[in-house]
């Protein structure tokens, strides 16, 4: 029993880290630009395809591929901000509806380019780590390790650089930030680009584990969505707490009850939190 608990704990933390990668970008886009981005999952999908193209078509090393994926995603974020989201800066609802359209365009664009069939991704590492009865596949450990490093870099960027401070200022109060010289024309595309890059890199990290197809974006979007609601829209610490919480809840419910029960439990939790505390566990209340 204690072994099962420990195994669930490890699996939960791995899941939670991946959910966090997805959720931070989603919550950042809302915090900075007030956009609920339903296309966020499609950038996960695009990241996975970028990794596939880099590793299998171009024969690049995996780390180089991931770095290129990040650069590509940031650029893409800037383009998308300019073409799709900029006209709706002061209109949350229209921005959100536009993101539904963007998601359709991206998903079916990928469908036309790559076809509907799932594509295998070569394994980056094989074998497992074993401690007694506990088992962690090396492929998962690799994804977890790189994910943690990227989260750490992002944290340092956010806390200790000028642009990072500007982003945090925007999340707190747009007008005051603008008065203090935060340039929205730069920070909006950057904020969206970074968020999208985190989603894309999550896609690149998960590709060796789950394979690649145009439809893989839906589940990560749902997870990001759950995490962000639980943590509070726009709150990054809230997202961190909720991501780990969701990872643990899923891993424990699916070990001890069933996987479909895990989904129902989390959605019921989401609806409960929205009803009782719409600002989320750590979010600020809004007028």
């Amino acid at each position: 029993m204690s072994f099962l608990i420990a195994q669930s704990l490890i699996n939960g933390v791995i899941l939670g880290t991946l959910y966090l990668l997805m959720a931070i970008g989603f919550t950042l886009a809302f915090g900075v630009m007030r956009i609920v981005n339903f296309a966020h999952g499609e950038f996960y999908m695009i990241g996975a395809f970028c990794a596939l193209i880099g590793v299998t078509w171009l024969g690049l090393p995996y780390p180089v591929t991931l770095a290129l994926t990040i650069v590509f995603a940031i650029l893409m974020g800037a383009v998308v901000e300019r073409l799709v989201f900029r006209p709706f800066r002061n209109d949350e609802l229209s921005g959100m509806i536009a993101s539904l359209g963007l998601a359709m365009i991206l998903q079916h664009g990928a469908l036309i380019l790559f076809g509907p069939d799932p594509q295998a991704f070569p394994a980056m590492v094989s074998g497992v780590f074993k401690w007694g009865a506990l088992i962690v596949p090396k492929s998962r450990a690799l994804a977890l390790g790189i994910g943690l490093v990227i989260l750490l870099i992002f944290y340092l960027f956010l806390m200790h650089t000028r642009h990072g401070r500007a982003l945090r200022a925007l999340v707190q109060d747009q007008e005051v930030a603008a008065v203090f010289g935060v340039r929205l024309e730069i920070m909006y595309p950057l904020g969206l680009g970074l968020g999208i890059a985190l989603a894309a890199v999550a896609g690149g990290l998960m590709a060796p584990l789950f394979g690649v197809s145009p439809f893989i974006g839906a589940t990560p979007l749902l997870k990001a969505f759950i995490v962000v609601i639980l943590g509070g829209l726009g709150s990054i610490p809230g997202a961190a707490l909720a991501a780990i919480l969701l990872g643990l809840i899923e891993s424990f419910t699916s070990s001890f009850i069933s996987a479909s029960a895990a989904d129902i439990v989390t959605f019921a939790l989401v609806i409960g939190v929205l009803l009782v505390r719409p600002a989320g566990l750590l979010g600020r209340a809004e007028a």
Binding site: V36, P87, A98, F225, I229, L233, I264, L274, L275
Partner: protein, 322 residues
């Protein structure tokens, strides 16, 4: 915005007549061409317009629901289960579907509608997902992931509407009833109350309008219409599964509503009329259909915030200014 639309309609009586004639002409197309395929498209337009009309009622009080497909699903399953298990006539199954969907909306409406803007969209998104997951968990009623096939066809007083040509007039009548209900609501006192709540909730509340009750009423009516449309769809297509009523269907209703005009009375009809046949003109390029939907949606949001239904007014205003 709502006042601008009504003004336009009453000030342009001859124009209204022209539009009505155009609508009748469009409705006659399947009979003119005689093509079964056109009958099918026309029926699908009617069903989509009814469902989107329901979504519009909720939108009139300023709330956008992403759970609309779930309410269509509740209506569909209610009717199908009543007809197949209790041998009820289909003609009773359809209103029963509406009734149950409306009742569910009424019960959960009050707490949900306290949330506004994107938060309401998010919670309805979660509800739609929860509906799908729960239905998958009860395969003895929902058919599970393989769904329910061989659903009894639509029938009126024992007369089965087995051909497309027979279903179409019935679909037109149902659509006319739904649109009639929408006109009644919109032109009546209730419509003004909806408009007041949509434009300025605090002001409406201060003016003595029971805003919470008004919103719940709109949500209940809108969801009941969704239930009716869902039941109609189930008996027409003959197959339903929990996946039929997923996120994607909710999104397509939102796209039709926004494209037609979020607050316009005829928006749902215009949106359904424009977007339902669109993929059929692009046969052989089915993959491009959704891309076109996405592009149309973003373009309409950007350039026609009042939707296609607001296009004539927008054009004449531009012309007047020039």
């Amino acid at each position: 915005m709502s006042s601008a639309v009504t003004h336009g309609a009453s000030g342009l009586r001859p124009m209204a007549l022209v539009w009505a004639l155009a609508l009748v002409a469009v409705a006659l197309i399947p009979w003119i061409t005689g093509s079964t395929f056109h009958f099918h498209i026309a029926i699908m337009v009617c069903i989509a317009a009814m469902a989107t009309g329901g979504l519009a009622v909720t939108a009139w009080v300023g709330q956008l629901s992403l759970a609309h497909a779930a309410f269509a699903g509740i209506g569909a399953y209610t009717s199908v289960l009543l007809v197949t298990r209790l041998d009820l006539p289909v003609l009773l199954g359809l209103p029963a579907g509406a009734l149950v969907a409306g009742a569910v909306a009424f019960v959960i409406g009050a707490p949900l509608l306290r949330l506004r803007g994107v938060y309401f969209v998010l919670i309805t998104f979660a509800l739609n997902e929860l509906f799908r997951l729960i239905m998958l968990e009860v395969p003895e009623y929902s058919g599970g992931s393989s769904g329910i096939a061989g659903i009894p066809k639509l029938s009126i007083f024992g007369l089965t509407l087995s051909s497309y040509e027979a279903v179409y007039p019935f679909a037109l009548v149902c659509l006319a009833l739904v649109m009639g209900l929408l006109v009644l609501i919109r032109k009546g006192q209730l419509g003004r109350r909806f408009g007041a709540v949509e434009e300025n909730l605090a002001l409406a509340e201060a003016s003595g309008i029971p805003t919470a009750r008004t919103q719940t009423l709109a949500f209940t009516i809108g969801s009941a219409i969704a239930g009716f449309a869902g039941a109609f769809l189930a008996h027409y297509v003959g197959f339903i599964s929990p996946e039929t009523f997923g996120f994607q269907l909710s999104v397509s209703y939102v796209i039709m509503l926004v494209t037609g005009g979020r607050l316009a009375l005829w928006g749902p009809l215009v949106g359904a009329l424009f977007l339902t046949p669109l993929p059929e003109f692009l046969r052989g390029a089915v993959e491009y259909q959704h891309i076109i939907y996405g592009v149309v949606l973003i373009a309409v949001l950007r350039f026609l915030p009042q939707g296609l239904a607001g296009l004539p007014a927008q054009l004449s205003r531009k012309g007047g200014r020039a």
